[in-house]
């Protein structure tokens, strides 16, 4: 021990004493720690879930077109005429404009919701690579009417098995049959689980959208720095449309997630306040034995500062342990149980969502935020009671 500086040795001894003092009152401290861990677990789950959702939204949006054009009428989105594409010919810098038909198809016999998507994939930049996402087969060619590519769970829900033909209802309840020409591979489940991809003409037929109309237009821009300018020009040329840029959508997602997690944090603040009061109460209610102990320590020559240091170490140890337990539990909750307790609050309110895996990305920043939310109030709540009990006059304590 000769090598250790004196100040450090004193702190180490104080730490040692704090540990043994915690151990002597295990029941009380364990109780506090469990409740504290629970609070941290809830806060941490929300924070990690937000991070995981933001990053999976980013991953989804990475391959979206730079600009999406939707026609608005009376504040609602409606089908956009394909003639609008010609109006945009004058804008330089546009790499491709892809008309797209998409929508949701509710299958009444199985009570499932499918996403139907139709576009001319050959016109897309990188469109030829799309076939790589299929486990077998190919994308519907423009000339092949009545063909479709299915996502994994669509195939299961329709109970296709080895059969290659299925039918969907048009709005007037007449049947339209399709032939399966490809199945998406498992790796793209997050995006393609509930997806049916078909030809633009077939999709128009299925949804009874007038020919020459599509759902929206995807604009691909070659130079990312030109996106904003091009979007502005489009908005000028087509005043009845809503022009969405990729970064706008990304920011909106982020705001929505951070708003929701902020809202959840406010709800959890009540739990936090309750916990701080509990901690305050536990720390101020001194049992006669504790009073006696402090009195004896003081008579033995301990100063108020030393007892405060013991209390500080006790609080730090309890909160550090609770922090580790809470954060680990939160990570397990998000990573292995897909945040099943909290996901409904964060991910829409739609019941049918493709089951997808969340991968929490925990950064130092997240941990620091959780720390601020939990440990700071705890330390703040225990500091005054700790001082109060460390100033017990020794004579009154052991009398």
């Amino acid at each position: 021990m000769a090598m250790i500086p004196k100040g450090l040795e004193k702190q180490l001894n104080t730490l040692d004493f704090a540990l043994s003092s915690l151990w002597r009152r295990k029941l009380k401290n364990l109780g506090i720690m469990m409740v504290f861990s629970l609070v941290i677990f809830l806060l941490g789950s929300f924070q990690m879930l937000t991070g995981a959702l933001t990053s999976s939204a980013d991953a989804v949006l990475e391959n979206t077109p730079e600009i999406t054009i939707q026609k608005m009428s009376a504040g609602r989105q409606e089908a956009i005429p394909q003639t609008y594409i010609k109006k945009l010919n004058s804008i330089y810098g546009i790499r491709a404009i892809i008309p797209r038909v998409w929508g949701y198809y509710f299958d009444e016999s199985t009570l499932a919701n499918f996403t139907v998507l139709a576009l001319d994939h050959n016109a897309m930049p990188n469109g030829s690579k799309l076939n790589l996402t299929l486990s077998d087969g190919h994308f519907p060619k423009k000339t092949e009417t009545g063909t479709a590519v299915l996502g994994g769970s669509v195939q299961d829900i329709l109970e296709l098995g080895d059969r290659r033909v299925f039918s969907l209802f048009r709005p007037d309840l007449s049947l339209k049959s399709f032939q399966v020409v490809g199945i998406f591979s498992k790796q793209t489940d997050l995006l393609t689980n509930d997806l049916i991809v078909m030809n633009v003409d077939d999709a128009r037929d299925l949804f009874a959208i007038p020919t020459s109309h599509v759902t929206d237009l995807c604009v691909y821009v070659a130079n990312p720095t030109e996106i904003e300018t091009i979007a502005k020009k489009i908005a000028g040329l087509l005043p009845d449309t809503r022009v969405l840029t990729k970064s706008q959508i990304q920011k909106t997602y982020q705001v929505v997630f951070s708003w929701r997690s902020g809202f959840a944090s406010i709800c959890l603040l009540t739990a936090l306040v309750a916990f701080a009061i509990l901690a305050w109460d536990k720390a101020s209610g001194l049992s006669p034995e504790e009073k006696r102990e402090i009195g004896i320590l003081k008579i033995l020559g301990w100063e108020t500062g030393d007892i405060l240091a013991v209390r500080f170490w006790e609080s730090t140890l309890v909160s550090a342990l609770a922090f580790i337990i809470g954060c680990t539990a939160a990570y397990i909750h998000v990573a292995f149980f897909d945040a099943s307790l909290l996901k409904p609050v964060m991910v829409g309110w739609s019941v049918i969502h493709p089951p997808f895996k969340l991968l929490p990305t925990v950064t130092l920043a997240d941990l620091l935020l959780i720390f601020t939310f939990s440990v700071l109030p705890y330390l703040g709540a225990t500091v005054i009671p700790a001082w109060r009990c460390s100033t017990v006059p020794p004579d009154s304590a052991i009398r």
Binding site: Q248, Q254, G262, L308, L364, G380
Partner: protein, 335 residues
């Protein structure tokens, strides 16, 4: 933009610090009014107990303040994702007029609370508590800064408006001019590097001389030198070293180096620079207390320790800041 966990966390931490500060100031007022070391009344004994409370509260406040400082920068870094034209924390902090002042007040706070703790340590090292009055007047003077801190922070958060898709049109017609880059312009790189390394050498030399032989004017030069170096080093980190860390000549951001992509090297830089500057500055600032009854020995001891600590941190800072620069100069690029 209060409904966001970062804003809430910052506000919560700010409120906790404020409560601690107000409690400490209550003690300060009582001590200033009733302190009388020659009496042995109940009140005096209570007060002697209470100064422990005040010091613990300020110590906690300092710890929390350092934490919120980091949290503030990290929060700005997440805010930038939802603000138009902001590429990183710089952009988010410049998004309204309160960001930068809030940051500066927070940094100043760290220095001022730290100095209070130095005073306190000196004070309790003597049995007569010779600095008690000065210490508590000083504490009361810090309180407005605390209020300013939380006010600026709240204003900053309140005036942040996130950029989301509205129902009419999502295209932003405002300018999305980049605000991220030019926080500091107009320094020549070589001149700056010369100043930076020159200051390091001069400071180290002065420090070593002071450790050998105490000369008051030299001590004043040493502390003043640290104030100067704090500025020079900040500018050097922003406009020279950051580019080498990012391996991009036009990326000069003081905050992105705090990110995991750059192995949190920014924390290492700032957490050596700030303590080094703090201890360097305090060396001369404690000098007036040498005249107090039985403090001379303690003050001298503190000064020696402070010089040693500041020199060690200076050395670390020099090594850490030069690492990427030298790596580039020697290997001609990122390894």
């Amino acid at each position: 933009m209060f409904l966001n966990s970062w804003s809430l966390g910052l506000t919560l931490a700010g409120l906790i610090i404020l409560v601690l500060g107000v409690f400490a100031c209550r003690t300060a007022i009582r001590v200033l009014r009733h302190w009388n070391p020659s009496s042995d009344t109940n009140l005096q004994i209570t007060l002697e107990n209470e100064i422990w409370l005040a010091s613990t509260l300020v110590a906690y406040g300092l710890g929390f303040q350092i934490l919120t400082l980091v949290l503030f920068v990290l929060a700005a870094d997440t805010f930038c994702q939802v603000i138009v034209g902001a590429m990183c924390a710089t952009g988010a902090l410049l998004a309204n007029n309160f960001g930068m002042p809030a940051l500066l007040v927070k940094i100043a706070g760290v220095f001022l609370y730290g100095f209070w703790i130095v005073l306190h340590k000196l004070d309790i090292s003597s049995e007569t508590y010779p600095l008690v009055k000065i210490k508590y007047i000083y504490l009361l003077l810090i309180l407005p800064l605390l209020f300013a801190d939380i006010t600026l922070q709240t204003l900053y958060i309140a005036f942040l408006s996130p950029d989301i898709i509205t129902s009419c049109c999502a295209v932003v017609f405002g300018s999305s001019a980049e605000t991220g880059r030019n926080l500091i312009v107009g320094f020549s790189q070589t001149g700056l590097l010369f100043l930076y390394y020159g200051s390091i050498i001069v400071l180290a030399a002065v420090g070593i001389i002071l450790l050998k032989r105490w000369l008051l004017p030299l001590a004043v030069v040493f502390s003043a030198g640290w104030l100067w170096f704090l500025g020079v080093a900040t500018v050097a980190i922003i406009s020279v070293f950051s580019s080498y860390i990012y391996a991009m000549p036009y990326h000069n951001c003081p905050f992105c180096i705090l990110k995991p992509e750059y192995h949190y090297i920014g924390f290492a830089l700032y957490f050596t620079l700030i303590p080094a500057a703090f201890f360097g500055l305090s060396t001369a600032l404690v000098e007036p207390f040498k005249n107090r009854v039985d403090l001379a020995g303690q003050v001298t001891k503190y000064q020696r320790t402070a010089i040693k600590i500041s020199l060690i941190f200076l050395l670390l800072l020099a090594a850490i800041s030069s690492y990427h620069y030298l790596l580039y100069k020697i290997s001609g690029g990122e390894s």
